[in-house]
Amino acid sequence: MAQIMMWEAIRRAHDEEMANDPLVIAMGEDIAVAGGTYKATHGLYEKYGEQRVIDTPISENGFTGLGIGASFLGVRPIIEIMSVNFAWLAMDQLFNSAAKVRYMSGGQLLAPIVVRSPGGTAHQLGSQHSARMEKVFMGIAGLRVVTPSNPRQAYGLLKSAVRCNDPVFINEHELMYNMKGEVPEEEYFHPLVGSEITREGRDVTLFGYNISVHWCLQAADLLAQHHGIEAEVIDLYALSPLDRAGIRTSVTKTHRAVIVEEAEPAVGVGAEVMAILNEECFFELDAAPVRVSALNVPIPYNHALEKAALPDANDVVEAVRKMFGI
């Protein structure tokens, strides 16, 4: 199995799906001639031409809507929104058109689009370039939301998303495009539902997704080394629908849960997983579930303030220690 970077994995998925189906197109700001801000579409313009690899104007709502309209006729657009912060501008078309058209047409029209967008906080990008918007997307019926934590998922999720008949939002991360990981040599399609046990454990379940999976893994190592606590790490790569069964199964084993999210706590993944724990396995819990989240502030520019606003592996360790009273 080859070790490749996240951007290469995403690029490979584009390339294979475009080779497989002439109706697959890629569109977005700077994705064609420039090859994409994070190189996710590097070289595709030269290979597939300007009809299929399209530099769009800076009109997020407009080009997202254009992609949706094209998808009504069987075109499968992979739309890159350069930064998830700009996706706010495309919410009208994503929510009012893509997510609802199948239902309100009585099943006549499908909108099989893929929207990929990097979110999360990077290094001192300031308030308007540090949004974590997964909570917004996952609250909308009619939209699938997935979020890769490694190159294998990034590759396989995009491949499945392109072929799936539902609109899929792929929440990537600004800091993770150069992360290396193993991706199968052969073609691979990752499920758009479910979750993965990234580390087996028996004492507490750490739920993470996207970048927070890595904080959970670091925390699990620290907990094992220093406290003899064996944490299980569950990767919630599918945010909508969330894997109720996977969440229940793990907590039925460990009886304790910590949810780790890069976003502000309100109405987020942590809140949603806690609700699922209540609904699915309340009596399995030996302690009240805890969420580790960002502070409820716009992300500051100053490095120390930015760091203070965000959670990390140490915060996860602290949360677990508090839960165990150690």
Partner: protein, 330 residues
């Protein structure tokens, strides 16, 4: 246009008028719920343009004032009324309602309830046509007030940039909900606004179906000829309020009287009578037959149709048993 076609158009427009008036009654009778936006006064717009199109072949998309565009595109009026009555036999299986009439088999790609929402969708449909290499075009009908949305500018820019086969038809009825155009819009003539995107455009009398048709023939020839988008503005007037919750208090009775003298149906009727192609009695008989057809065919069908099953409330949210959801495993 041949006399037979003019007489058929007269009948279609009169049918549209009576259909919408019956919708009004059905709303008052509480057989229709939600929001209801009616088309009387504007019939010549949809009929003149779509008469020049290849309905069932060309794609049509519009706003929430959509019943008549769907019917002229080929939708069964009984299934449109059944949709308004929220029945399983409705065009959108009772899930859409008045603002979301869809008949994809006839390439009527839907009514959308966000003002300006269809602008980019129409450009996208045109992009797909262009990719597939067909000779279809996409026709997008929207009101004048939609042109104050960002989607207007974003979509016209892309349509012109990529020479997409889309005809934007602006039904300028002079009001955006209840605000008169000169109080909301810096440029009154909407066809002038697209000059900034190098899109050819024209303005036509939207009350005279023959003039609308003539303008649409020219517009469609341009778009189908691969020359890119076109923008056609039709000056028209809606007799009723924006929706049923609108008392129409913001307009003067004088203004309404002026426009009613240029009623699209009466205009065509009187022309046909003057030319000796129609008698007033024939028109009255036509009207009676239409009223009977609506009552005995359309309304009865809607009334007698079943409602959707409660057990199917979650159907159509996401694709059923799509193998790619599980990574290609069936």
């Amino acid at each position: 246009m041949k006399d037979a076609d003019k007489k058929r158009l007269l009948r279609e427009m009169l049918f549209a008028r009576r259909f919408e008036e019956r919708c009004y009654e059905a709303y008052v009778e509480r057989n229709i719920g939600g929001f209801l936006h009616l088309y009387p006064g504007e019939e010549a717009c949809a009929h003149g343009v779509l008469e020049a199109a290849r309905t069932g072949h060309d794609y049509v998309i519009t706003s929430y004032r959509d019943h008549i565009h769907a019917i002229k595109s080929g939708a069964d009026p009984r299934a449109v009324m059944a949709e308004l009555f929220a029945r399983e036999t409705g065009v959108s299986k009772g899930r859409g309602g008045s603002m979301h009439i869809f008949d994809v088999a006839h390439r009527f790609m839907g009514g959308y309830a966000l003002v300006g929402g269809p602008f980019p969708l129409a450009a996208g449909i045109a992009k797909a046509i262009q990719m597939k290499g067909g000779d279809e075009i996409c026709i997008c009908f929207l009101g004048d007030a939609a042109n104050n949305q960002g989607t207007f500018h974003e979509s016209l820019n892309m349509a012109a940039l990529w020479k997409l086969p889309v005809l934007y038809v602006c039904e300028n009825n002079l009001y955006g909900i209840g605000t008169r155009i000169d109080r909301s819009t810096a440029v009154i003539d909407q066809y002038k606004r697209v000059a900034g995107y190098n899109i050819p455009s024209a303005q036509a009398d939207g009350q005279d179906v023959e003039l609308v048709h003539k303008a649409a023939v020219k517009a469609i020839r341009h778009v189908r000829g691969g020359k890119g988008p076109y923008f056609l503005e039709l000056m028209t007037y809606r007799y009723r309020g924006h929706s049923m919750s609108d008392s129409n208090a913001y307009r003067t009775r004088t203004e309404e009287r002026v426009w009613s003298k240029r009623d699209p149906i009466i205009l065509l009727r009187d022309r046909l009578i003057k030319d000796g192609k129609l008698t007033l009695q024939e028109y009255k008989d036509m009207d009676t037959a239409i009223l009977d057809e609506i009552e005995d065919g359309v309304i009865r069908f809607a009334t007698e149709s079943p409602e959707p099953h409660i057990s199917e409330v979650e159907k159509y949210v996401l694709a059923d048993n799509d193998p790619w959801v599980r990574g290609g495993v069936t």
